[in-house]
C-alpha cells in the first residue's frame, strides 16, 4: 500500500474493506432464484418479434402486413412509419465533444431504407413469442437491393457508394492528436519499426440477452420498464424523450442482469418499438432478443486497422510513436454514446505506459452496411495495447534487448506523477515500475526463459509475452457524455438511511450485472458505519428508489459509486455519533461504532446499540433536544473534478505453446499485475480481472463477426461464433498493487476492464515470441490456426 495514504476507518483491523465476501446474488443464482427480466410475467403480457432486413442495404418498396394481422393471437403489427409517429423524432448519434462528427438521423425501425442486415422493419406483437414469429413470417416486404459498403479500407474512395447521401461521404469522424515532433524523432532514430495490425469485429455475447418488459398504465400515465440494463437513468431519459413521456413518469427497473460488458449501456430501436406497443395497447409487452437477434443487432466493436510506427535509440529508448487508425463503424452511429469512442480511445491510450514525448495519432471512422458499433468492455484498449505492445516487442528485438528490460527502460517512473502523457492526458498515482518488477518475480521470468530454451531444443515452441498497459476508468464530467450533450450522468450518488431496527438501507445509482457491485457497496457502508454486513441492504437498479446516477460502465462503479457510498456513510455515521453523544453525554469524537454498537473509542463495551439510536431517532424523538433534527439519512454525490479519467495501469504476462504444424495455440499460463488502487473485495477484483482476460483471449483467438461481400453476417450462432470456454483457458494469476487514487478518499480505481484491455496484446506477443525463430509474425486477430499457418508460410 502507498505509504503516504493516511489510515482511515476502512483500514481498521477486521474491516470489511479488503476482505473477500461472496456475492449475495450468487447464492440466489445458484439456487435458481435469480430474477431476470424474462422471469417477470405480469398477466396479459404480449410478446414482440421483428421482421428484420435480410439485406445489408435495401430500399423498402412496400410492406404488406394484412396476412399477419389476421393471425391468431396477434395484437399489433407496426411498421417503422407507424412507430415514427409515436416518437418525438429520430436519433442522431453524435456528441458535440467529437468535433465535426456526423451521423444520419436514425429511426427505431427502418422506414424507407434498411441499412444493415438485421435492422428492424416491422414489429409483430402477439400473445406468445412463437405466435409473433409465426405471424412475422407472413409479413411481405418488397425490397430493392442497394449496393453495400463492407470494406472499411475503400469506404472513403471515390467510386464507393455513399450510404447516406446527405452526409456527402462515408466518414463519421476524423481526428488527429500530435505532441512533440514525430518526424524529427523518426529522422534521428537509430531504429524505426513499422507494421499494420487488423482486428476482427466482436460482439459482447452476454449470457442473458437484451431483455425488456414495458408496462403502461393509462390511468396514471406511468410507464414502467423492467430491462436488463447497466444504466437505468440513461434509459429513463432516452425512452422518455424518444416517446414523449415525462421523465418523472418513467420508472426503469433493472432486476438481475446476466452479464452486460457494455452491451447494455446502449439504446436499441426494437426496444423502443416494444415500449411503444405497450403504450399503444396499454398491455405489458415483452421483448427478449434471442441469440440470432443478439448477434445480428447487439452492438459490435473492435473492427479496426491500425498502421503503427515506433522510433527508438539503439540503447532501447523510445523516442516516438505514431499510429493511423481506420475504424469500421456500422450504418449509423449508435445513440446516445456514438460509434467513435473506440477509435478516440485507441488514440488516447496507445503507447500509454511509456515516457516518450513525441506522438501522433490519427483516425478516420467510416460507416459500413453492418450492425452499428459502440462500446464493448475495455473500449479501444485491446487494440491500442496490441499495437503499442507489439511495436515495443519488435523494437526490443531489433535493439537486441530483452523485452522486459526494454520496458523497464521506458515505462513512466513511479515517482514522476502527476504528469501528462504523450497523448496529452493527465496521469497520476500509477505504478508501472512496481508492477513490472512484481511480474518478473511472479512469472519467475529468468527461469521461464531457460525453460523456453530447453523446450526449443526438443522442438517444442513456447513463447513468452509481456504487455504493459494503462486503462482509462471512471470517466469524469469534463470528458464525453455530459459535456458531449448526451443525457448520461458522470456523477453517482448514494443515499443511506438508518432504520429503526438499526439496519441500514443503502441506495446507489451504480448497478450490478453479476460482478458484485451491490456486495462491494455493502462492504464499504458496513465498514464505514461499523455494522455487520447482515445489517446492510443495498438497493440498486430502480429509478424510483435510488438517487440519480450514471450506473455501471467504464469501470466506474467502485471508483465513483464506492466513494459516494463511503462519504454518505461517513455523514450518517456523524449523525449517529452526534445523537449518541447527546444521549450518552459524551463528545461524539470520543465515540466509535463497533459491530452495530456505539462504544468508547478503543473499547469494545457497548454503550448504546444502533437499534436503540434508530428507535429513539425515529419513534422517541422527544428524548432528543430540539436542535437535533437529524433525518438519520444522508446523500452524497461524487464526481471527478477536472480529470478525464482515473487511469489505472498494470502489466500482463503470458506463456503459450504453438504447434507450428497445425497452427494451434495452447495457453499455458497467464499473469496479471494491476493497480486498481484500494481493493475492496480481493476475490471479486481477481475474478473481474480473470473474466476480463478470458474475454480478451476470446477476441484474440476465436471471436469474429464475419460478413460476406453482400453484407450478410455469416456466423450468427454460438456454434459458429466461438467464445472462449473454460477448457482452453489458462490459469490466470492475479496480483494487485494498491496505489490509491488521490481523487477520492476511498482510493479505489476501476478494475473491471483491465484483464480485457491487455490480454489480446500479451497473447499475441507470446505467440510471436514462439514463432520468431521461424521468421513468422502475426499481426491479425483473431489468431486462427490458419492465420498462424499463413504466418509460418505453411499454407
Amino acid at each position: 500500500m502507498n505509504k503516504e495514504t493516511p489510515l482511515t476507518l476502512l483500514d481498521k483491523p477486521n474491516s470489511y474493506v479488503g476482505r473477500t465476501l461472496s456475492r449475495d446474488a450468487a447464492k440466489r443464482a445458484v439456487a435458481g432464484r435469480g430474477r431476470y427480466t424474462d422471469d417477470i410475467m405480469p398477466a396479459r403480457t404480449l410478446h414482440a418479434a421483428f421482421v428484420r432486413s435480410p439485406y445489408g442495404h435495401a430500399k423498402i418498396l412496400s410492406i404488406d402486413v394484412e396476412a399477419a394481422k389476421q393471425q391468431q393471437g396477434v395484437a399489433l403489427v407496426m411498421t417503422g412509419a407507424e412507430l415514427a409517429e409515436m416518437c418525438t423524432g429520430p436519433w442522431v448519434g453524435t456528441l458535440v465533444c467529437f468535433d465535426g462528427m456526423k451521423s444520419e438521423p436514425q429511426h427505431p425501425m427502418a422506414i424507407d431504407r434498411a441499412c444493415w442486415q438485421g435492422e428492424p422493419v416491422v414489429m409483430v406483437v402477439a400473445t406468445s413469442r412463437a405466435e409473433a414469429e409465426d405471424a412475422a413470417e407472413l409479413v411481405t416486404v418488397e425490397y430493392e437491393e442497394l449496393p453495400v459498403v463492407i470494406d472499411k479500407e475503400t469506404a472513403l474512395d471515390p467510386g464507393t457508394p455513399i450510404i447516406h447521401p446527405n452526409l456527402g461521404d462515408n466518414l463519421a469522424f476524423e481526428k488527429t492528436i500530435e505532441t512533440g515532433d514525430v518526424e524529427k524523432a523518426v529522422a534521428e532514430a537509430d531504429i524505426v519499426i513499422e507494421d499494420t495490425f487488423t482486428f476482427g469485429r466482436h460482439t459482447a455475447v452476454s449470457l442473458e440477452p437484451r431483455a425488456l418488459l414495458a408496462e403502461y398504465d393509462p390511468g396514471t400515465e406511468r410507464l414502467t420498464i423492467h430491462t436488463s440494463s447497466q444504466c437505468p437513468h440513461m434509459i429513463q431519459a432516452v425512452f422518455a424523450r424518444t416517446l414523449g413521456v415525462p421523465e418523472h413518469n418513467v420508472r426503469i427497473v433493472a432486476p438481475d442482469v446476466g452479464g452486460s460488458f457494455g452491451l447494455k449501456i446502449h439504446t436499441f430501436g426494437d426496444e423502443i418499438a416494444a415500449t411503444a406497443a405497450a403504450i399503444k395497447l396499454a398491455r405489458p409487452v415483452k421483448f427478449i432478443a434471442d441469440r440470432l437477434e443478439s448477434f445480428a443487432t447487439d452492438i459490435h466493436a473492435r473492427e479496426n486497422r491500425v498502421k503503427g510506427r515506433i522510433a527508438v535509440t539503439k540503447e532501447g529508448i523510445i523516442t516516438s510513436m505514431d499510429i493511423d487508425v481506420r475504424s469500421g463503424a456500422g450504418a449509423y452511429s449508435q445513440y446516445p454514446r456514438t460509434s467513435v469512442f473506440e477509435a478516440n480511445q485507441i488514440l488516447n491510450i496507445t503507447g500509454g505506459p511509456y515516457a516518450h514525448e513525441n506522438y501522433r495519432a490519427s483516425t478516420q471512422v467510416v460507416y459500413l452496411n453492418k450492425v452499428p458499433t459502440s462500446q464493448y468492455r475495455a473500449v479501444g484498449h485491446p487494440i491500442g495495447n496490441t499495437v503499442g505492445e507489439s511495436l515495443v516487442d519488435q523494437a526490443a528485438a531489433a535493439c537486441g534487448i530483452d523485452p522486459m528490460e526494454f520496458r523497464r527502460r521506458n515505462v513512466m517512473r513511479d515517482d514522476s506523477y502527476p504528469r501528462i502523457s504523450a497523448a496529452g492526458i493527465e496521469m497520476r498515482d500509477l505504478s508501472h515500475q512496481q508492477c513490472l518488477e512484481t511480474l518478473v518475480d511472479r512469472m519467475g521470468y529468468d527461469a521461464l526463459l531457460e525453460e523456453q530454451a530447453e523446450y526449443r531444443k526438443k522442438g517444442i515452441q513456447r513463447g513468452i509475452g509481456i504487455a504493459a498497459f494503462i486503462k482509462g476508468t471512471a470517466p469524469g464530467p469534463a470528458g464525453y457524455y455530459g459535456a458531449g450533450g448526451a443525457p448520461i450522468s458522470s456523477q453517482d450518488s448514494c443515499t443511506i438511511k438508518l432504520e429503526p431496527s438499526g439496519g441500514v438501507i443503502c441506495m446507489v445509482g451504480v448497478t450490478d450485472q453479476g460482478q458484485g457491485v451491490d456486495t462491494v457497496m455493502g462492504q464499504i457502508a458496513a465498514a464505514t458505519l461499523g455494522i455487520p454486513m447482515e445489517s446492510v441492504r443495498v438497493i440498486e437498479g430502480d429509478t424510483d428508489a435510488v438517487p440519480y446516477g450514471g450506473g455501471t460502465y467504464a469501470s466506474r462503479a467502485t471508483a465513483i459509486g464506492g466513494e459516494a457510498t463511503y462519504q454518505a456513510a461517513m455523514m450518517l455515521r456523524a449523525e449517529i455519533l452526534e445523537i449518541a453523544g447527546v444521549l450518552l453525554q459524551a463528545e461524539p469524537d470520543t465515540l466509535d461504532i463497533l459491530d452495530g454498537h456505539v462504544v468508547d473509542k478503543g473499547d469494545s463495551a457497548s454503550r448504546i446499540s444502533l437499534a436503540e439510536i434508530g428507535r429513539i431517532g425515529h419513534f422517541q424523538v422527544a428524548e432528543l433536544p430540539n436542535h437535533i433534527q437529524h433525518t438519520l439519512s444522508a446523500t452524497y454525490r461524487f464526481r471527478l473534478k477536472d480529470a478525464l479519467y482515473i487511469f489505472t495501469n498494470g502489466i500482463q504476462g503470458a506463456y503459450v505453446e504453438v504447434d507450428t504444424d497445425t497452427g494451434f495455440i495452447k495457453l499455458l499460463n497467464h499473469w496479471v499485475i494491476e493497480d486498481c488502487g484500494r481493493v475492496i473485495n480481493p476475490q471479486l477484483a481477481d475474478e473481474q480481472v480473470r473474466g476480463g482476460c478470458v474475454q480478451g483471449l476470446g477476441g484474440a483467438l476465436y471471436e469474429e463477426c464475419v460478413y460476406d461481400s453482400a453484407g450478410q453476417l455469416q456466423n450468427a450462432t454460438l456454434a459458429d461464433y466461438l467464445v472462449p470456454m473454460a477448457g482452453e483457458m489458462p490459469d490466470i494469476e492475479v496480483a494487485h498493487i494498491q496505489t490509491h487514487t488521490g481523487v477520492s478518499e476511498l482510493g479505489a480505481k476501476g478494475v473491471g476492464e483491465s484483464g480485457t484491455g491487455a490480454a489480446p496484446a500479451v497473447v499475441m506477443n507470446a505467440v510471436n515470441d514462439a514463432i520468431r525463430p521461424f521468421g513468422g509474425k502475426v499481426t491479425a486477430q483473431p489468431m486462427s490456426p490458419e492465420t498462424i499457418l499463413k504466418a509460418l508460410g505453411k499454407v
Binding site: A130, E133, R291, L292, T717, G727, S784, V795
Partner: protein, 289 residues
C-alpha cells in the same frame, strides 16, 4: 428462435414408428436425442409437420457383443457408448473418438443413431463406422435392409437411408486383437465439431503397415477413405519418406470444403499433418502391445 407449429407423436413401439414414417413420408421426422434437430427447428431451418419421438422405443437401444460383432442400437446415447466396457474392449477406436463428441450435456441426450442418420460431415461416429467397416441396419414396414458403411454416406447430410426407413442398429466387427487404432481431431475448442480429423485402423508388424484404413472427416462433405494415402503406406516399412508419400497422395484423395473454419488448402494441410501423426502413433501403439 421459436419452432414453428408441429405435431408430436410418441411412438410406443418400433412397429408404430415404422408405420408413422411410412404414412407421413417427407413430412414426418424422427426425434431421437434432439440435439441436432431441435436447434434447426428453433431456427426455422426445417419445418417438419410431425415429430415421431422414438425415445420410448426401448428395443432400439443397448450394446451387445455376439460372434465378434458389436451391435449398437440406434437410440443408444453417446454417454452409454462412451462408458461401455464392450466398446472399450472391442472398439477402442470408438472409445477414443467419443472423447471428442460434444460436451457432457449433449452426450447425455444425443444418440449414435442420430449422429449417423444426420451424417454431419464433421461428426466423429460416421468416420468411425466407415473406418471399422460397419454395417448400418435400416428398417421400414417393408422389412430390414443392411447397408455397408461404404455405401451409406452419399454426400453432405445425404445417406442411403430412404425417407420411410428408420436406422435401427449399427453392426461393427470387433477390432482384432493384433490391430491398433488411432483417432485424432483438431477443433479449436474441445467438443466442437472437427476442423479436420482422422480415424485410423491398422495392422502393423515390424514397423510395416500390413493393413490400413484411413478415414478423413471434417474437411470433406462426408467421411472419406484416403485410398491413395493407404496405398502409399501399406506394405512399406514406416519411414519419413513413407510419411511424405502418404501426405502427397492425400491431395488426390481429398477435396476439402472451404468454410468459416478455414480454407481448403489449410484443411488439406491439417489432414496431412494428422496422417503423419496418426501413423506415428499407430506404430508406437503397435510396439507397445
Amino acid at each position: 428462435m421459436k419452432a414453428p407449429k408441429f405435431n408430436y407423436i410418441r411412438a410406443e413401439s418400433r412397429q408404430q414408428a415404422l408405420e408413422l414414417l411410412d404414412q407421413l413420408g417427407e413430412d414426418g421426422r424422427i426425434l431421437a436425442g434432439g440435439q441436432s434437430l431441435m436447434p434447426t427447428l428453433n431456427m426455422r431451418l426445417s419445418q417438419p409437420g410431425t415429430l415421431i419421438d422414438i425415445n420410448k422405443v426401448t428395443d432400439l437401444s443397448g450394446i451387445t457383443l455376439e460372434d465378434g460383432i458389436v451391435r449398437i442400437g440406434a437410440m443408444t446415447r453417446h454417454v452409454e457408448v462412451a462408458n461401455s466396457p464392450i466398446i472399450a474392449e472391442n472398439l477402442p477406436l470408438i472409445a477414443e473418438a467419443m472423447q471428442h463428441v460434444a460436451h457432457h450435456a449433449v452426450r447425455n441426450r444425443g444418440t449414435i443413431g442420430g449422429s449417423i442418420a444426420l451424417a454431419d460431415p464433421a461428426a466423429e461416429m460416421p468416420a468411425c463406422v466407415l473406418a471399422l467397416g460397419a454395417t448400418l441396419v435400416v428398417e421400414s414396414i417393408n422389412g430390414r435392409r443392411e447397408i455397408a458403411a461404404e455405401d451409406y454416406f452419399k454426400g453432405l447430410y445425404e445417406t442411403a437411408r430412404a425417407a420411410n426407413e428408420l436406422l435401427v442398429e449399427i453392426l461393427i466387427p470387433a477390432e482384432k486383437s493384433d490391430n491398433v487404432s488411432v483417432f485424432l481431431e483438431l477443433a479449436q475448442r474441445h467438443g466442437d465439431f472437427a476442423m479436420a480429423g482422422l480415424a485410423c485402423v491398422a495392422r502393423v508388424s515390424n514397423k510395416t503397415f500390413e493393413e490400413l484404413r484411413l478415414v478423413y472427416f471434417g474437411s470433406e462433405d462426408r467421411p472419406t477413405l484416403g485410398a491413395g494415402a493407404i496405398a502409399a503406406v501399406v506394405g512399406q516399412t514406416w519411414s519419413a519418406e513413407c510419411k511424405e508419400a502418404a501426405a502427397n497422395a492425400l491431395a488426390d484423395d481429398l477435396d476439402p470444403m472451404t468454410n468459416l473454419q478455414g480454407s481448403a488448402a489449410m484443411k488439406l494441410h491439417l489432414q496431412k499433418v494428422l496422417t503423419g501423426r496418426a501413423l506415428d502413433a499407430a506404430i508406437e501403439r503397435a510396439e507397445a502391445v
